[in-house]
Amino acid sequence: MTLVSGWGRFPVVDSEVLRPRSFEAVGEAVVTGSVAGGNGRAYGDAAIGAVRTIGMTGFDRVRSFDPATGRIRLEAGVLLSDLIDTFGPRGFLPFVVPGTRFVSVGGAIAADVHGKNHHGEGGFGRYVDSILLRTGQGETIEISREQNSDAFFATVGGMGLTGIILEATMRLRPVETGWIRERVISASDLDAAMRALEAGDSATYSVAWIDCVARGNDLGRSLIYLGEHARTDELSEGADRFPVGKNPGLAVPIDLPSMTLNRISIRAFNELYYRMGARRAGGDHVVSLYPYFFPLDSIADWNRIYGRRGFLQHQCVIPQASARAVLGDILDRVAKRGDASFLAVLKKLGHGDGLLSFPLPGYTLALDFPVKGDILNFLDEIDRLVVAAGGRLYLAKDARQSRATFEAGYPALARFNAIRKSLDPAQNIRSKLSQRLFDEV
């Protein structure tokens, strides 16, 4: 028996972990109740097999790369950090990166991860041309928008439940530099934040960090970060065309006692963060892609800040029409509790591509909460607001939503399940998440 958990360290469950070394061995490793796992950055139970987790990070080879087009074929265990370090200096970056670079390509496809450019450029899956998939019934098939397209759109965002992603062909973005021209806008409340994000629609990248302990007139006060890839002529004299991405240096060596995070420390931190950011507001400046895209990656094991019992991330998306009212309501309830995370993230999303892809046109809000007290009840309360507004929760972050919340949020579930069944009639591929949310009981 092996106890494992996701990045949020909740829930802790039993699943055998295997690391096969060849694609044949991957096939042999599949038993009823298996799912592929990547680099362990899914927060909850999405990448944990019901019985067995098949670790894929050993498959980290690039098969081929065409520097003329940026098309790349690679094994599913290649990390985005590896892609950035290797191909960044050659003038190519992934089109879409989430808030950490330590995710595998297979995981990024399975969760159809979004970045700060989803409002304009879509999710990770949009840049994937084809996938080599090992289905639950043991076939290895190539899937794309043209070939086995049902399987393709079920696999992009399908949380690994259509089979094991072995390889993928995708397109990389040509860039002149590894720097981002950033503009910081300070917004004094939620209305101002949403107006700034709407106005930032034409920016390639946009995201807001919300102070989620601010209340009253300050409710929803934020810093909005807009970004564009910097051109060579925008770099300061003598700057390297591509900055070096440092490995996480400062690590959180132990689980901090839960005392560390309290109303006072969070409030003080957020006040400081907001004021320092507001001072930088205004003109453009050029920053390395690493702090711009991956602010938390510089602190190794930051998940330990929340203590041994772990934390929950609640990431919802609310459709455009009702976003202002519902987000205001959620933020108000969170601010009244006062124990939410350091910083919450607010951003605009566009259409999702896969059947179970999280994004829909509207606003997404991500909040972290330490696991303690009545937090599960509180999040159920928030979920009711999300469901009533026609929104949904992000499966890559989820560890606790109910079946009813999930079913209400993902209307394409029936279609997804039909495709899943055709690829895997015996339903060998099952994760703890699929057992919790949609496998037949």
Partner: protein, 246 residues
Amino acid sequence: MTSRKTVLVLGGSSDIGRAAARAFAKAGYDVGLAGRDAAALEPDAADLRARYNIEVSTRTFDVLDTASFDGFVAGLPALPDVVVSIIGLLGVQPNAESDLAHATTIMRSNYEGPSLILGLFAEKFLSRGNGTIVGVSSVAGDRGRASNYVYGSAKAGFSAFLSGLRARASRGGVHVVTVKPGFVRTKMTEGMKLIGPLTVDAPVVGDAILNAVEKKADVVYVSGKWRLVMLIIKTLPEAVFKKLKF
């Protein structure tokens, strides 16, 4: 056109071999990968070509087939600038205690073969007047332990061979590096209980090998903590050491 430096990695399909090849390729070396099954090295060769736009070749090399060594070296299109031996076999100590064939394979894989092939390269490098030889040995060779002394004794022999070769070859412009990785998360150690703070991933070893070559280091413990740990272990009196469960 400037000609690039070349590295030959013996044991190229191992986790540390792949990591070392990547480190050298990233630094601009052309790479030769050698292993028991040249065809099996092709995906790694393709990986290096795609990532770093360099020349990569693959060839067959069997460390137990010492009779083939002269032919292997003679058959290389050019003598590399750097040769790295990652080859080793942990084996199963309890089996090696009663199975002479298994014990022999462990000894030959860790001492005889790597020493002979690197000795052969040393002669060629000395005639040329330059070159770097890297032997990946083990902290297990610093003192024999009850739990793995067949492997450890062969690594001890290999370390001693490298140290003698270094003393001799340095006078002829040839540099010899001994690398002692400590615990590494690889195929070889999968399922073993490793001590977290003393354990590293293969890429860390790959970078350490490149770094040792470029800095002309002699003996490298990949994690500095191992130098201290082994210093303590080496200094324990035998009367105490034999009572330790270890």
